[in-house]
Amino acid sequence: MDLNDTPEQAEYRAHVRDWLERHRDQAPPRSGSYEDGGYVDARRAWQGRLAEAGLAAVTWPVQYGGRGLGPIEQVTANQEISRAQVPGILDVIGIGMLGPCLIAHGSEEQKSRHLGPMLHGDEVWCQLFSEPAAGSDLAAIQSRAQVDGDGGFVLNGQKVWTTNAQFASFGLLLARTDPDVPKHKGLTMFIVPMDAPGVTVRGLRQISGEAEFNEVFLDDVRLPADAVVGGVGNGWGTALTVLMFERLTIGFGSENFGSPTHLAQAIAGDETARRDVDARRRLGDVITELLAVRFNGYRALTVLSRGQIPGPEAGLAKVTTVNAGVAAIDLAVDVLGPDALAPETEWSYLTSFLPGLKSAGGTEQILRNTIGERVLGLPTEPRLDKGVPFSELRSRERQEVRS
């Protein structure tokens, strides 16, 4: 039981800290608007610097530009980047989830063409999985990829909740190539250039008024045969790799929504709230939950550093973090009053942001199903869609709603 670095880890930390101290004055600000092209370019360039210094893609194999180190070193790098108060990489989705998927399932051509520009921020990637009717039930994807005369494909459909699509160069896209087999079986993964004819990106405004996500429309988008990743009909398995890396990214729950320190300060700063037993109890509950996430993160990291994959229960960290965040904001607004809901405040932003986050990456209900079944071994619900061809499933639904 030791939270200190081993000598090797300490050496790596010193290297990272030293590099950051020498270069931190070249970093762009930590926050800025992604609508501002200049800011995005500065973040791309900074990602390139981090990559050159070995602070990005720490766990990627050396042959693809990574450092070939373990998850603890990745966390170390992140900790030091945070400590230096500089921004981290821009393309968290590409480097954290899509790149590792390409490394696992991509062809040699795909890897050599894409991994370098991804790593250095020259080409940002986005994940084109979710659809309006395929969120929790991801395998219900309706986007169609039909074979055309040349052995290539023609894509039609709509994607949603796509982060970074507005400035991404490529997307990793899941589409249905065969509707006449059960729904998990007819899917294929593709690489889509975001500037291909027929691709349209539209910002999706959230409660807060900001466009945190995008919708992506695909109208007769033509793709060559070598755009396929992992083989035709193997899209579900390829997608699961991405989702596994997504879980690892979210699972550590190192990210807190709304600084607990700010919350504590806000309460401590109000003479009445400081002595209000109820406000104190609510603050104590929030802090307790967030501390639990942090120390369970260390437990998961220990497992990971031993070469094992943490179980799905790591996903509970997201539930805890989001719900504690909601409770924290609620308390802050109770204490500070309506002024906390002025547009420019941290509290107002989070009040709007968190309700949407609850379903990002799968709703809490789906997560609890998965954990109940895979961790506790509870029986599954009866499934009405098993083994049924996707096309039949859809017409059945349409009928039901009409009746």
């Binding site: 979710s130 309006p132 009717a133 969120g135 929790s136 039930d137 219900a140 949603v160 909740w161 999706l204 405004r205 959230q206 409660i207 008024g209 996500f213 109000d270 003479e271 009445t272 709230a273 209000d276 109820d278 406000a279 607004v333 109770d334 204490v335 500070l336 009053g337 309506p338 002024d339 906390a340 809901l341 002025a342 547009p343 107002s348 009040t351 709007s352 309700p355 949407g356 609850k358 379903s359 990002a360 709703t363 809490e364 209900q365 609890r368 499934r383 009405l384 869609d385 049924v388 499933l393 059945r396 639904e397 039901e400 709603v401």
Partner: protein
């Protein structure tokens, strides 16, 4: 024993619903977040419906109806997020009517729009009449009135007053030099009165910070009981408005849960969704039962109004918060997008429960009432 709406009340409710249906108020609530001018002026609708005179005696040109009826109107406004300045109007007319004020005819006809400038009466951990602080939990004393016969001069500031902007007559709950409550009517345009408009998060809610610096008005012939009644009427009104909004949240969520499919089944067939929506229903019906209690107490049992209105406020504020969050959850990500109606109800929920003392304060008052023995007599019978 008859605890259901009368035919007249059903009609009043239908009429309110019809009057409000002429404008897409929900759409306007969204547009107004970016452009406050997009909010339709519903005061003419209110005047046409006769709401300004609803609580004013017939002999003064009003309809002579009761608090219960006013709550039904607010419930309808809440259903569609209509921005009608009734939270300011009704408690003000209740005070003016009790005082038999000279302005009553103009108010009843809709020619003079009054707004209630509230003070929170003492009766719990906090002593004395206090008002909303501009920021933070520490409360400020109510405006101080220096009396000179029928005239009163006011000093002080009340923050986050609903419907203050645009009001023509301010009906103020202040305190005299000895800390006793005094009701004062001040024209909004009088010297020494300033109203700083303030909108936060929910664009349908017109708020103002009202400052009195030597503002002169007339003292109203209304004692502590009238001012206490006005405060609790305001609590019940904002509760009823939340009940209406909660009903819409439930209706929209249920409709979606029947239609949206995952894993080959409508999502409303899953227990997690079904039980959450049943919980919305439970909270809604509880809040509505307490709204009726508050309306009944206002008309028939004023001694129970502090308990009834506080309980209604507490239950309805929490119900709407829960319902608005459920509405978003049931819709998944789409429920948190700008074009969906769910965020508008969410905004309403978040701001409303922090106004007029806040819902937690109302809960505290229920406790105080219970501890001081009001409970044993609550609601006839048993």
């Amino acid at each position: 024993m008859n605890f259901a709406l009368s035919d007249e009340q059903e009609l009043l409710r239908e009429a309110a619903r019809a009057a409000l249906s002429r404008v897409n108020t929900v759409q306007a609530a969204r547009a107004a977040i970016e452009d406050p001018a997009a909010l339709p002026d519903l005061w003419p609708t209110a005047v046409q419906a006769g709401w300004p005179g609803l609580l004013i005696g017939e002999e003064r040109g009003g309809a002579g109806l009761g608090g219960f009826d006013a709550l039904l109107v607010l419930e309808e406004c809440g259903r569609v997020l209509a921005s009608v300045p009734l939270l300011g109007l009704f408690p003000a007319t209740a005070i003016l009517d009790a005082a038999g004020d000279e302005s009553l005819e103009s108010v009843a006809s809709g020619d003079l729009r009054p707004a209630y400038i509230p003070s929170r009466p003492p009766s719990d951990l906090l002593d004395g009449w206090t008002v909303e602080p501009h920021s933070g939990a520490t409360r400020a004393p109510a405006p101080r009135a220096t009396l000179d016969g029928d005239r009163a001069t006011l000093e002080g500031r009340v923050a986050w007053v609903p419907d203050a902007p645009g009001a023509e007559l301010l009906v103020v709950a202040g305190i005299d030099a000895g800390g006793a409550p005094v009701a004062v009517a001040v024209p909004a345009g009088a010297d020494g009165v300033s109203i700083e408009p303030a909108t936060r998060y929910d664009a349908t809610r017109s708020l103002g910070h009202v400052t009195f610096a030597g503002a002169r008005g007339r003292r109203l012939d209304a004692g502590a009981d009238v001012l206490i009644g006005a405060w609790y009427l305001a609590q019940a009104l904002i509760a009823a408005e939340s009940v209406g909004a909660t009903q819409t949240c439930l209706d929209v969520a249920v409709a979606y849960a029947k239609e949206r499919h995952t894993f080959g089944r409508p999502i409303g067939s899953y227990q997690s969704i079904k039980h959450e929506l049943t919980e919305v229903l439970r909270r809604l019906e509880n809040a509505r039962g307490l709204q009726y209690y508050a309306g009944w107490a206002h008309e028939a049992q004023p001694v129970e109004l502090p308990l009834a209105a506080s309980a209604a406020r507490s239950a309805a504020g929490a119900a709407l918060d829960f319902a608005a969050r459920s509405l978003i959850n049931v819709h998944g990500g789409i429920g948190a997008t700008w074009e969906h109606d769910a965020p508008l109800f969410f905004r309403r929920a978040q701001l409303s429960r922090r106004l007029l003392g806040g819902t937690h304060d109302a809960t505290d008052r229920v406790a105080e009432q219970a501890m001081s023995g009001a409970l044993s007599g609550a609601g006839a019978g048993v």
